[in-house]
Symmetry: C2
């Protein structure tokens, strides 16, 4: 992203601080957790948690454990996604995937460890003291719901089931709503929950996050086409049976980008529910929609 993320260094620092100490017999798995969790990235989800907490009038520091928890969930999902029995990817963010670096067994356990650490972090005594038990428990529950079989894990299953077939747009939307949308929505919702936001603000946050999440996914499909020299110039919507459905293959390039723009506008409109300055969230939505490869 071209825009500046004022939260980035604080998020990085907090993520590192929540990892367990390595002076133990099982330090390999903690190193493997650190390898993936501190591998950089845009930190979209924690940024949304912190900023929605702020625009709802909450204490940003109280939202930090929840911001880091959602990033831990995202990080674990990438480790498990890359495993040989899943996408079998050797590379992640330009480095060897976790299981290439540490072996499949440690990578599996590092994913399990990060998933578990998310809840330990969200529910730590310090976190509950700052956020309050009621709000803290609610935020952690929103995260669990979004990450589980009715959310992200469910979306990954739908993805697996349609790996080598053309799915209709309804299935693609349902898959993305669960696979990536649910966690992005939970990130925004947790910020609201920690701030004790009212119903109107919570609904606006969900709408913003749903639109931004889907726009991000469609933009991903567009970038996949225009950044791949082999694909570039091929007729979109080719009936190659092994090709997965994408928004570009189903809608065409022009309509896909149009949808990205509409969703981004809808996200921006939702921000009228907040009286605090929402310039950052507007810019954030635009930067995700217009990002290059």
């Amino acid at each position: 992203m071209a825009m500046e993320n004022q939260y980035l260094s604080r998020i990085e620092e907090a993520l590192a601080s929540y990892l367990p100490a390595k002076d133990c017999l099982q330090k390999d798995v903690i190193e493997a957790m650190e390898y993936s969790l501190l591998a950089g990235g845009k930190r979209i989800r924690p940024t949304l948690t912190l900023e929605f907490c702020r625009v709802c009038g909450g204490d940003v520091q109280a939202a930090m454990p929840f911001a880091c928890a959602v990033e831990m969930i995202h990080s674990y999902s990438l480790i498990h996604d890359d495993l040989p029995c899943m996408d079998n990817s050797d590379l992640r963010r330009g480095r060897p995937a976790n299981h290439i670096q540490y072996g499949e067994d440690i990578a599996l356990l590092a994913g399990d460890g990060l998933l578990t650490l998310a809840f330990e972090t969200a529910l730590s005594p310090e976190s509950i003291k700052l956020a309050g038990a009621q709000r803290g428990a609610e935020a952690a529950r929103l995260l669990a719901k979004a990450a589980g079989a009715e959310g992200m894990v469910g979306g990954q299953v739908i993805d697996l089931q349609h790996e080598n077939q053309r799915a209709p747009i309804e299935v693609l939307l349902e898959m993305d709503r669960k696979k990536t949308g649910a966690l992005i929505q939970a990130a925004a919702q947790m910020g609201c929950a920690v701030a004790g936001a009212d119903q109107k603000q919570r609904e606006a946050a969900v709408e913003y996050a749903a639109c931004v999440g889907l726009a991000f996914q469609i933009r991903d499909d567009i970038l996949d086409v225009i950044s791949d020299p082999e694909t570039l110039g091929k007729p979109v919507g080719s009936d190659d049976k092994n090709e997965k459905s994408t928004y570009v293959s189903l809608l065409g390039m022009e309509k896909a980008q149009q949808l990205v723009n509409e969703l981004t506008q809808q996200a921006e409109s939702a921000l009228s529910a907040f009286s605090e300055d929402t310039a950052f969230l507007r810019e954030f939505a635009q930067s995700l929609a217009n990002r290059g490869y």
Copy 2:
């Protein structure tokens, strides 16, 4: 176990009730979660949660979500343990392992789904309403801490690292304390947390669970020897380099069973901290220590 567990049918019913509905595109993973979660077993951990809640004067029904949560964690750990990159076990409780039945990808995700469902269950609005937010958040945190890289996941890593070598007894104790002990202790502690038990009762619960957990593990090693016709009669402590250390190989059969008995007595003594009737917990400890194969 020969003894009657009064909670068993309520636990089974509650576990089934917490699984997500199957009328969705990702029903495969929910079936796989159900396959392992409802596969029976002794339900040792949830029983401890419920009974410790009762002997601390708490509402057993309020402890049920936490009891089921710890069993979901146990169940996920078995699914991931059986995967080819871990123990590569085809059978579990006399049935095909989860990945044999559903494929490795779905089994991996079913494990992730159960791990996540544990926290969704523990932190559900109904659960928090019954237990109270402060106690509920504390119980869920105890579970996360025990299940993660400093607990169960850490113990599995220590186990992996000593697979083909003789570990000294200190390492064996540290491994079991984390791999199985931590979750059994969390089960007991959660019951105390939901009941709002005092410090003295919490410490007694931890001592009871630590002793019972270790006794259970040592008895497992004993049963492994006396139930295996090939091993039976072989000199204990044979220096076969491929053999893992066990309490029997390190201590000898007689001392191992003596330690089981001592730990069981210590567990029973710890129960003097409770004014409620602890006959069930005494009998429970004895039945685990004396169980046959």
